[in-house]
Symmetry: C2
Subunit: 365 residues, 2 copies
């Protein structure tokens, strides 16, 4: 944990130092001068001599929790797919089953605000492919990412969420319940130290890990200029397979996928397209079966009052205030207020600053 | 007309005979023996000596109508694009403006039973491209063909219909009024003698002419095994550009287009994609304007009832059935049914086979 917080260290530098000192413990027990002569940069060596290198309270508490671990790049469970990556993380924080990190994976990424059909498509692809034994890797964002994680969970499959913040900071907060399920049925992963906030600049770095971990990346719905396309291009750069789902030319969220297809991504209609491209042929028949049964509609808010459901759908997945909900639903303001209170008490929505409400995204299981 | 009815004649044979006799009139005035020694096959020579070679009543009547003509392959108005074709027609029957046959053309083909969105797409592409000066060539079939002809007509552009029957046999009969408009604003073309019925085996031959006449072929919606794909592959064989419009993975009529895209057809979202690929750069700005109009967010749902709007948003851009819409909106099934009926009557959605509905994407021009 200290090394992952140290400035100016890379896997290459540490590999060399570990060689000199016979591993991590040798490095820890070495002197400042020995470290510097073994190629440890001044800033890092200085950090390692300071009290800042000692485990802090948060770290001590976190590592003691069950199923929490930190995998240095020398750990056999550290993903082989990452080792070759320039700028590979020195260590990965893992909450969940660290044994799945080397499983064959497909990443599924896309818009945070997909169409209903796009969300279903992500869920269904993830469900089919997870049922065939592929881990489903994504970024725990709202929209396509969440749908992909949920699809894998629904298939009792493996899913991995790679965070753009410290592993103790679940972002977006609304996905905390989903993150708990992922932890139980797969793994949450972060290369950032504990407490690291979800800064904008973390996400390209996080996307690089998603791309590198996976045999391929599937883009479900993405606008022409979007983070998903960045992940996708990174996948291409790492010689990973790139898959994109086509859609209506009138759907702005198909444009990114179409752009990728024009640039050589595989046009993808079914889970079988992906399995055959990845030579997952042994699993092909199971996939075929699974995708037959996939159309089953999600059933989350089954017993809910119809007007409440309309309101919840009108809320969508971004915070909205009462006025906006009145406009969207056509209900009277006082009706919206009282229904939102009920929805809040039932745990479907959460009050946010500025008189706004956010939806609480429940797992579908 | 007689030569086009004669057996065993080809453009190659006739070219040689015309050289020997100094053209068509020399051939007509030559003796049977001279014809045979000039390489005219026995069957053809025999036919030319028989009374069957004389113009019949139908031919005499047809050729006297205004804007009717027969263009032998030696006529300067005969399409240059066809001359190089193996098995080029000896003559073309033309009703309409024979001067347009050498205009730059794009063929638009696809299913005879398209989705409403597919029909609109064909219409809109044809309208945009015809407005930019491209002739729109198709086969006068129902569905995509008809929509393409109509789009070109709506733009006051040029459109050409290539028939799979004699030019005096309009098939399907229901398209007779459309054929009249095409005749007035473009041209009807056939290589078959008058009275020739629309036999199944004529259509691949007709499709070859459509493909060869055009700079490229755009496939809008086509099932995986369909005549449209044959035309498309012929276009590829003749080194013509091949364009295909992607669509929802849940639309069976997008499968053929997706297959073509996988095989190298250009994924096509806008008319500008086609114009730039064809280097129609002089026209590009006009097209861009035209398609800019298309990309403007639709404002058609402005005054719509809120619940109807929710339903339309839930429908998204892929066909969906009532059950799925019930799940997505939380409305009661009977409410969804009655609202869908209203939306259908108002022209916002259209019923599709299998109890599904598609959104009607309106032209925004």
């Amino acid at each position: 944990m200290a090394l992952s917080r140290a400035p100016a260290l890379t896997v290459a530098i540490l590999s060399k130092a570990f060689e000199s000192f016979g591993g991590l413990h040798g490095l820890i027990n070495s002197s400042d001068a020995e470290r510097r002569s073994a190629g440890v940069p001044a800033a890092a060596a200085q950090f390692l001599c300071s009290s800042a290198a000692l485990p802090n309270n948060a770290e001590q508490a976190w590592i003691e929790e069950p199923q929490h671990c930190v995998l240095p790049f020398t750990d056999p469970r550290y993903p082989r797919a990452l080792r070759a990556l320039p700028g590979a993380p020195i260590a990965l924080y893992v909450a969940g089953n660290a044994g799945v990190l080397n499983d064959p994976q497909l990443s599924i990424v896309g818009s945070r605000n997909p169409t209903p059909a796009g969300r279903d498509t992500a869920f269904e692809f993830a469900q089919s492919l997870a049922a065939c034994g592929l881990g489903i890797t994504s970024g725990l964002a709202q929209g396509i990412d969440s749908a992909a994680h949920r699809g894998a969970l629904a298939a009792q499959g493996i899913t991995l969420a790679v965070l753009g913040s410290g592993i103790d900071i679940i972002y977006p907060r609304i996905n905390f319940p989903l993150s708990e399920q992922i932890r139980l049925q797969g793994a949450l992963i972060s290369e950032f130290p504990l407490g690291w906030p979800p800064r904008r600049e973390n996400f390209p770095q996080r996307n690089r890990i998603i791309a590198a971990l996976s045999l391929g990346t599937l883009v479900v719905e993405a606008a022409r200029r979007s983070g998903s396309l960045i992940t996708a291009r990174l996948a291409g750069d790492h010689n990973r397979e790139l898959f994109a789902v086509p859609g209506s030319i009138h759907n702005p969220l198909s444009r990114g996928c179409h752009e990728l297809i024009r640039q050589g991504a595989k046009l993808t209609e079914t889970a079988a397209d992906i399995l055959s491209e990845l030579n997952f042929s042994a699993f092909f028949d199971r996939a075929h079966e699974a995708s037959g049964g996939l159309a089953a509609p999600p059933d989350i808010e089954a017993g809910m009052d119809k007007e409440h459901k309309i309101l919840l759908d009108a809320l969508g997945f971004d915070p909205a205030d009462i006025d906006l909900l009145v406009v969207r639903t056509g209900f009277k303001p006082e009706a919206v207020s009282s229904m939102m209170l009920i929805l809040e008490l039932e745990g479907h929505v959460q009050a946010a600053p500025g008189g706004r409400y956010s939806r609480v995204v429940r797992s579908r299981r």
